[in-house]
């Protein structure tokens, strides 16, 4: 199949960018979307042009490194799928595909389709952990965790930190990412001692990173490659309010 690409090219963070059109020819259905871009890049290198820069690493949907807005949708048209797991069989011969980087003030473009997502690490630094020094753990089965709680915590913990939720949100909010981390830890008995500090400090960190507020559009859940539910945002709102009601945070 042959497709036309309109790709956002931007030399660096301070240079203006724009769309450039490329032809991707003799593409086969079993190629992944990124392999299609690889072949376009091989063509560009052969012509002595700079290839399209895009982040990617594991190419199996778990590292969270890749992420393109494809035809206006973060990670493209397939639900619950990262960009690297999207296959060309989901496109048709003659299609025009628009490819952009994540769009968000908090994720500045570094080059072409690569953005800076270091704000996510800083949100985690504000409290996205359980303080437990190496060596100080008690015997694992001394803390029983009811299966439904463990499963729910795991549902939140599947977040890969790709940032699609932010790219999809009209407000550029990082609420789903932040809630997934808070939900994962605060549901577990091990995470209870720090739950209120965690909620308050992570949300404060999120707000200081230029992410917008959540107004319940639900676009984040639709774009999330791990299908993380916005129920976790509700849970975190309760955690956050709980912190203020009990004034149990520092």
């Amino acid at each position: 199949m042959n497709v036309t690409l309109k790709v956002w090219r931007q030399k660096g963070p301070h240079q203006p960018g724009g769309f450039v059109e490329y032809k991707a020819e003799s593409i086969i259905e079993d190629m992944s979307f990124l392999e299609m871009l690889d072949t376009v890049n091989e063509g560009l290198i052969a012509k002595g042009e700079e290839p399209i820069a895009f982040d990617n690493d594991c190419r199996e949907g778990i590292c969270g490194m890749c992420g393109l807005v494809i035809n206006g949708i973060p990670h493209g048209p397939s639900k619950g799928t990262t960009t690297c797991e999207l296959y060309m069989r989901h496109f048709s011969d003659g299609d025009t595909i628009v490819i952009e980087p994540w769009r968000s003030v908090a994720f500045p473009v570094m080059k072409d389709l690569i953005v800076d997502r270091s704000a996510f690490d800083r949100i985690v630094q504000a409290g996205g952990y359980i303080s437990c020094k190496t060596g100080s753990a008690i015997e694992a089965n001394t803390i029983p965790v009811p299966k439904p709680i463990a499963d729910r915590s795991m549902d939140a913990a599947t977040c890969i930190g790709c940032g699609a939720c932010v790219a999809a949100c009209p407000n550029g909010s990082a609420m789903l990412f932040t809630s997934a981390k808070i939900g994962h830890l605060s549901l577990l008995p091990q995470g209870k001692p720090e739950r209120f500090n965690r909620a308050v400090h992570m949300i404060e960190a999120m707000e200081s990173e230029k992410f917008g507020g959540c107004t319940n559009h639900g676009e984040c859940e639709a774009a999330c490659p791990k299908s993380i539910s916005i129920d976790f945002i509700a849970l975190v709102n309760r955690e956050y309010m709980g912190a203020y009601w009990t004034a149990d945070f520092e």
């Binding site: 392999e35 052969a46 042009e49 199996e60 359980i130 190496t134 753990a137 029983p144 913990a157 930190g161």
Partner: protein, 637 residues
Amino acid sequence: MKLDAKIPPGPLAEKWDNHLNTIKLVSPANKRKYRIIIVGSGLGGASAAASLAELGYDVECFCYQDSPRRAHSIAAQGGINATKNYPNDNDSIWRLFYDTIKGGDYRSREANVYRLAQVSANIIDQCVAQGVPFAREYGGQLANRSFGGAQVSRTFYARGQTGQQLLLGAYQALQRMIAAGKVTMHTRTEMLDLVLVEWRARGIVTRDMVTGDVRSYAADAVVLASGGYGNVFFLSTNAKGCNATAVWRAHKRGAAFANPCFTQIHPTCIPVSNEYQSKLTLMSESLRNDGRIWVPKEPGDKRPPNQIPEDERDYYLERRYPAFGNLVPRDVASRNAKMVCDEGRGVGISGLGVYLDFRDAINRLGKKVIEERYGNLFEMYERITGENPYEVPMRIYPASHYTMGGLWVDYNLMNNIPGLFVIGEANFSDHGANRLGASALMQGLADGYFVLPNTIGDFLALHRPDGLKADRDEFRTAEKEVKDNVKKLLSVNGSRSADSFHKELGKIVWDYCGMSRTREGLQKALSLIPALREEFWKDIKVPGDNEEINQSLEKAGRVAEFMELAELMCLDALNREESCGGHYREEYQTPEGEALRNDEEYAYVSVWEYSGEFSKPIFHKEPLQFEFVTPSQRSYK
């Protein structure tokens, strides 16, 4: 070269404890005066960085990704082994030790492996305390599953994402220490050289992958946790960015490289479907708990799998290995898949595939149970192949997955270069010639949480902090070499991309130093690789500049190192005239086609010393002594 493994004396079960009681300590007030560099932020690097920072050391951690959370440990699916014996199935430290030694085909050190088994239970405690959401039973207790190479259920798991969950635990601990100001994290930064001062590792040279800035960092010790070299094959289950540059640069500075030919080919990966494929995807070994592996009995049987009647199917692993069945170790499963495909019984368009069939498990347990156990893996398979594994059997084929070889280390995880520590997949220490499933996560975390934080103190206590700065001549010289190399790559201006060279290299290594090897094949590879390397330096094309994000430049630099490493792999494979674990030399097999070890002549670790660009590396042996187990022909029948 002096190779002293420093194995502590005494009975096997007491070695580690005795060692801990006798090695030196650094006092809490002095720890903060020491700076430690850690390269890599996977399970080994992140757990070490967090643990050392908690102890009070000043840590600088480096990773090439945009966040330490993305290191490729994240992709491990199936689980992590530990000797908790929660299922009451008679597991013990001894049994995990024995399974690992045997699984490694008696090519690893007894003392290291025993220590690994000893600390395995602490890892689970630590991870649970950090909030790793392991699978649970209804009573709230931790659940276990079985894995290849063992007859007990000792594997802990978090759906099909155990690696991600364990890494997030370590990453969160690391982020906590970054917030506390005890770790300085350098993301999108690549180590391009190791700096030695007076025959001691004192720092590294890095390139900032955003600005192209080349600079040095000095420290009291350097820890490499940079992973394996499986990407030498181009097509592998490794992430695209995984590379051997850190370990190879250290090797060129004098670090001994051990057992480079011990690479693991994982039996359950999605087969290659086209020539543009950029990577291979693993399907967790845990699938072999419920999936049955088969091919048609008749060569060339092209009927769709569901139309092939039961009596015309060959469940070859169950037939040949009744005791372990589909749960034989990885090397055995891979080799058997290759054998049936070589007989013309492979499935799929390429004929390079075997079926992994869940029909019987779905009939026995119901679709819901299978979905709960493997749902995300089934989804992943369907996304990639477009086929529904609940209805048609999966097709799988072996692929490069893990490298048991790596930089040589002693019992303290220190290399022959003083002050250079190597942990996780980057070292060679625990898995011998074949790694068992669910043991890589165990080793990475054992090294980072429990071994290195103790053993590094023994070295540092004898080397007072001297505040060495990265402006000495040794650093300047290394920086210049790195910059010259970058310039050279940018200036060749040939006609071929780094990927095209990488693919060609990968094919040579796969064909001649992959699942089975022969003397002739290896000799051929040893003439093809240097020729390709020469062509690389004449014809590589790297567009763009140094002073920006330049992914072509990054790739080209890594491929250049892989070329050299591939040659050493083949040399090592040629030297080892026996078959053991993942190293299968066709000349050395039993009448049944199993690996035929030669303990008389080859019960040693092959250790290679770099001797210059055009001279043959110098070969050394570290003899392996088996005091507590008796090496035997591995049998899974």
